[in-house]
């Protein structure tokens, strides 16, 4: 057969997308994967007899990138939106409260509504209402989201509403989140003059439907289909071969695409640990916390940062679970002791129901490394990179970036150099935020 024209290093979603597109265009492609399976953080595991997503469990609808991919892969009829139960908030003190449904990143659209008052108190709500009276001059551009919200709506909104949500989405405190990273907020603030009005207009501009979607049977079906396509289009897949360094790339055939972290630079990043519980707990039938709970930073009642009541969020899973419940908790740090027991107790606190040990049908733990973005200095000249280190967090960003990279490679293969710019990569809600969004 013909010689390898492209070698893709890494069989996560980005590597699979690039390899598939190149092979479909008739190129000879080899894919090298360090583990014995494809998919990376899009993975599945069997818990309590249920086949569940072990990593990513939804995707951002932004740009329709992932939905388009799913449709191409024949999964179009199985794209589903989560239920509209809404999420809850676990404050530092006191019981969990419903997250005001109309806000953006916790910033209330109507500070005086009862859900907002329940979280920040009447005093806090009146302070937040001052936002409508404070003029917006828009002079400063380097301000953080936290500083902006504090000035206009007060400290209670920042700490009790915005901080838990922003932490869930960006793993940052609002004080560390530059305003520019919140798409269009600054522009809308300039236009409407108040933060609440800006939030209302952002809400209004959102497309109908939810910000995230899932796939019946789990996001991991994307990997099954992508892998089948690689077979169909003759991609040679080599498992259990680890490429450790930039130097090792030189031994590979054809144009090399780096689709794995840890090659151009050592993996830096944080570890997210997911605990999955399959529960026999009829008390959860009432879905006491909607789709799940976000935990305010500083809350010491639990170690988890977020909880998803997966069988409440996904109707297909509820049907599949046949009366049992699936709950997923995410941790930035794993506390000492019996992790299954920690997760059970956290679930009990966050869901507000008693979950005795015998209610736990099964438990699973998965640790995921979320690599930090590659610094510009770490980019080797002429090496094409795709994946989370360059495509932003989240499937939508990664797939968009990988598609663009494949298009550029194909254009280059067809008729010489094309533009050498990365596709606009955006942040999107990360794992913890998706847990409840």
């Amino acid at each position: 057969m013909s010689t390898t024209e492209f070698t893709v290093v890494g069989g996560g979603i980005a590597g699979l997308v690039v390899a598939r597109r190149l092979a479909m265009a008739g190129q000879t492609v080899r894919l090298i994967e360090a583990s014995d399976h494809l998919g990376g953080t899009v993975a599945s595991h069997l818990v309590g007899g249920l086949n569940l997503d072990a990593g990513a469990e939804s995707f951002a609808t932004r740009g329709n990138t992932v939905a388009d991919l799913a449709r191409e892969l024949g999964l179009g009829d199985d794209i589903l939106s989560p239920g509209d139960e809404g999420a809850w908030l676990q404050p530092v003190d006191g019981p969990a409260l419903p997250l005001p449904a109309t806000g953006i990143l916790g910033i209330p659209a109507t500070p005086l509504d009862k859900d907002t008052i329940a979280v920040i108190g009447l005093g806090g709500a009146f302070r937040a209402q001052l936002d409508s009276l404070i003029p917006w001059f828009g002079k400063r551009t380097d301000v953080s989201l936290g500083a902006l919200v504090r000035r206009r709506m007060g400290k209670a909104v920042v700490e009790k509403l915005v901080a838990p949500v922003v932490h869930g989405v960006y793993s940052l405190h609002p004080n560390d989140l530059p305003l520019e990273r919140v798409a269009t907020l600054k522009e809308r603030l300039a236009l409407h003059g108040s933060l609440a009005a800006a939030v209302r207009s952002m809400r209004h501009a959102m497309p109908a439907g939810t910000a995230v979607q899932g796939i019946r049977g789990g996001i991991n079906r994307l990997v099954t289909e992508l892998a089948a396509d690689l077979t169909t289009y003759g991609v040679i897949v080599e498992f259990e071969r680890r490429i450790e360094s930039v130097e090792a790339l030189a031994d590979l055939d054809g144009t090399v695409i780096v689709a794995a972290p840890g090659i151009l630079a050592p993996v830096r990043g944080r570890t997210v640990t997911l605990a999955t519980l399959v529960l026999d707990a009829p008390e959860l039938d009432a879905e006491p916390r909607g789709s799940g709970v976000l935990v305010a930073p500083g809350c010491t009642k639990v170690s988890a940062r977020a909880l998803t009541h997966a069988t409440a969020k996904w109707q297909w899973l509820k049907e599949q679970a046949e009366g049992r419940h699936v709950v997923r908790l995410s941790y930035n740090e794993v506390p000492a002791g019996d992790f299954a027991e920690v997760a059970r107790r956290d679930a009990e606190v966050l869901l507000g129901v008693s979950l005795p040990a015998e209610a736990v049908v099964d438990f699973a733990r998965r640790d995921w490394t979320r690599p930090a973005p590659l610094a510009p200095a770490e980019r080797a000249d002429g090496v094409v990179v795709v994946g989370e280190t360059v495509g932003g967090t989240g499937l939508a960003g990664i797939v968009t970036h990988a598609n663009a990279a494949a298009d550029r490679l194909l254009a280059l293969a067809a008729d010489g150099p094309a533009e050498d710019e990365d596709a606009a990569a955006g942040d999107e809600p990360n794992e913890a935020a998706k847990e409840v969004s």
């Binding site: 892969l73 024949g74 099954t224 289909e225 892998a227 089948a228 396509d229 077979t231 169909t232 289009y233 003759g234």
Partner: protein, 352 residues
């Protein structure tokens, strides 16, 4: 790779024959005609020759296969010979246990339904095609200026037999596997594509002047299923002929919904079954594609004046396309009166 200079297409024997010209989109003065399954069961001389010979053994005995291929050419004066063989021959040559059960069709001793089953399939050794090459060479030596058409079963049809274990009503097990284990499906279809592709290649290299890929069961698929789970593999089968400038015909039964998709895998000519008229097929293909077909085999038993009117209608609709090769919309049935076929050839040639 290119064809040998003594290949019939290159040494002047078949390149200007009416059927090869028609396959290349150059309408000849007289419309060419041949019949799918013209060799075999409908002919008394075939039944006599086959006595005491098992079907697949006959296919692998060069003298027999060659003689059976020649019989209808002598009898009907058709414009091409179709190589006498069976779509399961490459599977058998690759070591798969299969036999043709009279009255039923191909039966596989061990249906292929799991990844482990597929893993047991071995790639074919091109040397295994020696009897095929020999039979083709013998046939081509006798045919002179009449081209031989080589053929293979498309991966989907072949795989369907292998998954089902034999003929089935609607290929449901096969279509389930497509979804229950897409990767195993893809691996199986790649295997089928490679053995079918090598089978075609052996026939072309030994002297066949055209190739036809048969996807008999394609009518059980939706367009979406075909495009996503089948077409890439059919393309892969044809890719084994890369470098050989031979016309490639693609035919399926019930192909109305997937006609364009079947053409787009790299076929030069589309075979059309009897379900849609040729002018409609031409429209669905966007014009410009040479067509082959599509006499309804059911009418072979009708009174001659009915059949004659039908053949004239087929020919008249076929004039919409750049060129047309008359054929049936499916194979000749075992009970067909061979004289009817001879009369059709006379009519087509006389109509011009």
């Amino acid at each position: 790779m290119t064809l040998n200079t003594d290949h019939p297409l290159l040494d002047g024997r078949t390149a200007n024959s009416p059927i090869i010209r028609a396959y290349r989109g150059d309408r000849p003065e007289t419309t060419p005609v041949w019949f799918m399954r013209q060799a075999g069961r409908s002919l008394p001389e075939y039944r006599k020759l086959r006595e005491g010979n098992e079907m697949l053994e006959a296919c692998l005995t060069p003298d027999l296969a060659s003689e059976i291929t020649m019989q209808p050419v002598r009898r009907h004066n058709v414009d091409a010979a179709i190589f006498f063989s069976d779509i399961v021959i490459p599977a058998k040559l690759a070591g798969v246990e299969v036999e043709i059960v009279p009255g039923r069709g191909p039966v596989f001793a061990n249906p292929v339904r799991t990844a482990a089953d597929v893993a047991k399939l071995h790639p074919i050794d091109p040397a295994a095609f020696a009897p095929i090459r020999e039979a083709v060479a013998q046939t081509v030596a006798q045919l002179g200026t009449t081209p031989l058409i080589g053929f293979a079963g498309a991966p989907f049809t072949l795989a369907s037999y292998m998954v089902e274990g034999g003929p089935s009503k609607d290929q449901q097990r096969a279509r389930t596997l497509m979804y229950s284990d897409p990767q195993t499906w893809a691996t199986l279809l790649n295997w089928c594509a490679d053995i079918a592709g090598e089978f075609l290649k052996a026939q072309i290299e030994a002297g066949a002047s055209a190739a036809q890929l048969f996807d008999s069961w394609v009518g059980s698929l939706s367009e979406q299923q075909y495009v996503r789970r089948v077409a890439p593999h059919s393309k892969r089968a044809l890719s084994h002929l890369r470098g050989y400038d031979v016309p490639k015909v693609h035919f399926g039964v019930g192909s109305g919904e997937v006609l364009q998709a079947m053409h787009s895998i790299g076929a030069d000519v589309m075979g059309v079954d009897w379900r849609i008229p040729l002018d409609e097929a031409d429209r669905r293909l966007g014009g410009g594609v040479p067509l082959q077909g599509n006499i309804d085999p059911a009418l072979l038993g009708a009174p001659w004046h009915v059949l004659e009117a039908h053949v004239r209608d087929v020919m008249s609709r076929g004039r919409v396309a750049p060129s047309h090769v008359v054929n049936l919309g499916h194979g000749v049935g075992p009970d067909t009166d061979p004289d009817v076929l001879t009369k059709i050839v006379e009519l087509v040639h006389q109509e011009g």
